[in-house]
Subunit: 301 residues, 4 copies
């Protein structure tokens, strides 16, 4: 049976590690927050005093961290601390599930390759609900060998697993998708409001566009206009779901990639500006479908 070191036990990492434990896998966890560690050891995890200690003898190392700098520091280390790359065996598969910039993923991947170790970026989507239910989507960047070997653990935590390309490709594919999602959300919001302003019922308009050439994921699953769909954030005061602040983060990563490759993304850049304005007006912790409110006429309320 595979052994896994799981590093980073936050809102996403915690339930992901728990699912591995439930599947009978031996999981050694590490997090700076002792309460997060205790929650997992209560469920049967082993714990280690350091990330390197957790990783030393594992078949798989899985990391789930907030940003690129954390990922780089934990894998490569610094002047004072060893990195995971210094301690793991050649047969260990390293899987970083954080959503970070592709460049950092490639730096870590190149360093791993120098040491003869397989590294894969595998950012997720599906949110905390998907993490708990084991229905996450993983978008992977790495070799065919790494991708094949990763199935053992990823299938326990997720329902959809894609292979986007070499190391870094998982991150790129994820931010391309999320940039497009932001464009769908803004475009759908302004289209619905244009209809409303001209006397249309948003439910009727949504039904028409959903099965026409305007059809898109937000109309299917996540209508931003209040009371068109049940059980979506827009019908619950824009609570829950995927926060504006997180969309701002992902749009920042997409713009960082666009700068690096000298690409033009006018819609994605505009969506970022609108989301930043929205966050700066105090709505950062609302669901990202609340961008609809930027178009609604507050004067009429």
């Amino acid at each position: 049976m595979a052994t896994v070191a799981f590093i980073g036990l936050g809102n996403m990492g915690g339930p992901m590690a728990a699912n591995l434990i439930k599947a009978g896998i031996t999981v050694t966890v590490f997090d700076l927050n002792p309460q997060a560690v205790a929650a997992l050891t209560d469920q049967g995890a082993l714990s280690a005093k350091t990330a390197c200690g957790a990783a030393a003898s594992a078949d798989y190392v899985i990391t789930m961290l907030p940003a690129g700098k954390h990922v780089q520091s934990i894998y490569i280390g610094d002047d004072n601390n060893k990195g995971l790359l210094d301690v793991v065996g050649k047969d260990t598969l390293l899987i970083d599930c954080s959503t970070i910039d592709a460049q950092t993923a490639q730096i870590v991947g190149a360093k791993a390759a120098e040491n003869g170790i397989e590294f894969m970026d595998a950012p997720v989507s599906g949110g905390t609900a998907g993490a708990a239910a084991g229905t996450l989507t993983f978008i992977c960047g790495g070799s065919d060998v790494a991708y094949a070997k990763a199935q053992t653990v990823l299938t326990v935590m997720g329902a959809n697993i894609f292979h986007a390309g070499q190391v870094g490709a998982g991150q790129i594919a994820k931010i391309c998708n999320n940039m497009l999602l932001s464009v769908l959300m803004v475009g759908t919001s302004e289209s619905l409001q244009l209809g409303i302003d001209n006397g249309l019922d948003p439910k009727v308009l949504s039904d028409i566009m959903k099965v026409s050439s305007g059809g898109n994921w937000t109309l299917e699953k996540y209508n931003p206009c209040p009371n068109v769909m049940d059980n979506v954030p827009s019908s619950k005061g824009y609570q829950g779901g995927f926060m504006v602040d997180l969309m701002v983060k992902d749009l920042g990563l997409s713009q960082q990639a666009a700068l690096a490759s000298n690409s033009s993304t006018p819609m994605g850049a505009l969506a970022r500006s609108l989301y930043v304005n929205h966050a700066r007006q105090g709505h950062g912790r609302l669901d990202f479908s609340s961008i609809f409110e930027q178009f609604a006429n507050q004067n009429k309320k």
Copy 2:
């Protein structure tokens, strides 16, 4: 059996009228172009010397004209000419299938109502292929009575028939949809190119986004990146399909509606600017998915 007067026998109107004839309906046609008339009389249509002549005793009048001014002029008339509203009976149902501004539709509808005549706007989508195959989508604006009565003829020409609301609502719903479509097309194009610029295979990226939260009609049916899908304009030199010039027209109508209702549509307005630039660079007769070329790196070719 119903009798229909069909006025406007262009690329769309011609095959629509032909389908009515094939269904055994008595169709009297009118067009300023004698060749267009001859093509229909060859298929069994009657013809009239004037629009009013065609319409006088018909159960249904169907118009398919280029722009709002033509619609207003033919229905209401002017100093020198009678309009259709002056000659048709109270039981005639007037159906305008042109894509025009909602305001003109409402002006004509109000004038018809004054005369006690039912008028409905029913703009179509589906292109010339859909017109020929009888699989058009109709988006209707009018009373419940008009909508019910229209089924007799619309079901012969179309596969999907929606009721968007009162007179003018068909036009609004159509332009909301087409504005959203333009946003999907531009957003998908720039997302795919961002992926390509960062080393991803556009087929792989399309497959991932199609089933993720970036999923939308263009990824399903009309991928703008050459050679990702077969039998779409992008894989045939952007020939055929829905012309850039027509998208510019529809985006103009959406912006006209946004001005009238004081609505904000930043994505739709940006899409219009990009499409106008594209048309002005000489690409007006290419398919609208050719906007992808605005993002591709021509220097690398």
Copy 3:
């Protein structure tokens, strides 16, 4: 001495007419609002019961009205009422100072020309302060003859008088200018905020950009960042000045022109979207430099 009929005595028209009176010109006024009329007759104006009555024997007719439909109706009349064009003499010069769409100006101008009467559009800028002080800017569209003859009255009310071209050109030039102004205001606001967010003093940054290639009218006269300049709306809670709602109106006119000429104005269209959002959030009566607040970080307050 010239005689003037002045029609439309609102916030702008009132003080403009008063300046003509002060210059010794015989002014006959008309407005639907009796209080506005009384304010002028108190200053020495004659009054008439109808616009046509005021205009019948005047050398100059000056109109200052809210929108194109009022201008068209008062000059051309309708089924029930005569228009000014029906009553004025061939030697009368008609000057419309309203800010309206160029198309309406051209329709009225063409109708006037049919009757052998000179018509000129001469929209103003300079606000109520400029109207009171007689320092308005007039941007004129009309023949050389009309332009020359208009000097007699325009120089009394204004300090800068431009000849933009034929009838309608005054409106076009004004909306081109005001569209550009909105772009300067938004661009300057976001540039200053970007500096502030990165630790710069907005006064220092403004001083540098003002004399560099970023220099523009807003940095010279109308800095949008509070407390950089004295005596501008941004330093007085964005009170006074040129209202957001009026900028939205002018940006609507510029987009209407762009639709009519099939032009692409991505920055102007984006500025309109941002200003509409701002107005819809309840800020329509603030000065238009308050768009700065869309970029400031409200969370930090």
Copy 4:
């Protein structure tokens, strides 16, 4: 008399160093390109085999390099090479005139401060013509002491010298200015074209807007419409001036800063997208006012 080490002798650095020599200052130069070095030694410069060799005993070190990575590497060094900070004396003033990201400037500045050495960022504007004429603009970031001491050399090379704030502030102020410049250029271009499309003479419209609230640097000095002004790139086939590729670089730096500070710059981001598209269509080496061509109607040519 002051001694200067000048490192980086490209199109800008070469003539800047030459002006120092002409002023009687002892200048020791370094560049990887021997021809660039020879051109300066012919004019009286000393040369050194390494950057550190040139800098070791200088009162001032001036660097003019392409990008942040070069600046960081030459000042801080790496595993194999010493950096300038390792060899210069405590009294040496380090002045980096490159246009780079503020973050790198701050990293180098902090490292210099650790070593007790003054560092200042002083990016320039004015182009190669300004470099040759000694009329550059310097926008400085550094301490008051550094700023005062720098006058000795900066006044020889430039005509306008600004103090934007602490280390990094020079870079921020420059990119804020250049981002705003790009917005002025695009906004002016689309406004002029809107006027042209509606029948206005661009010279007349430019004259009106220049002295109205649309007034800005591009109308004063650098009109983008061909044949409105003499001796500007737009009247010379968009040759010379400031290349599109360099504007793309500066807009990239502004967006990098906006990402770092979580700022929203919708106009600047849109300008970047339009400039990237323009460059990708093969116009990267034209003057940046050629963005006007994106709005002109190529079909009418």
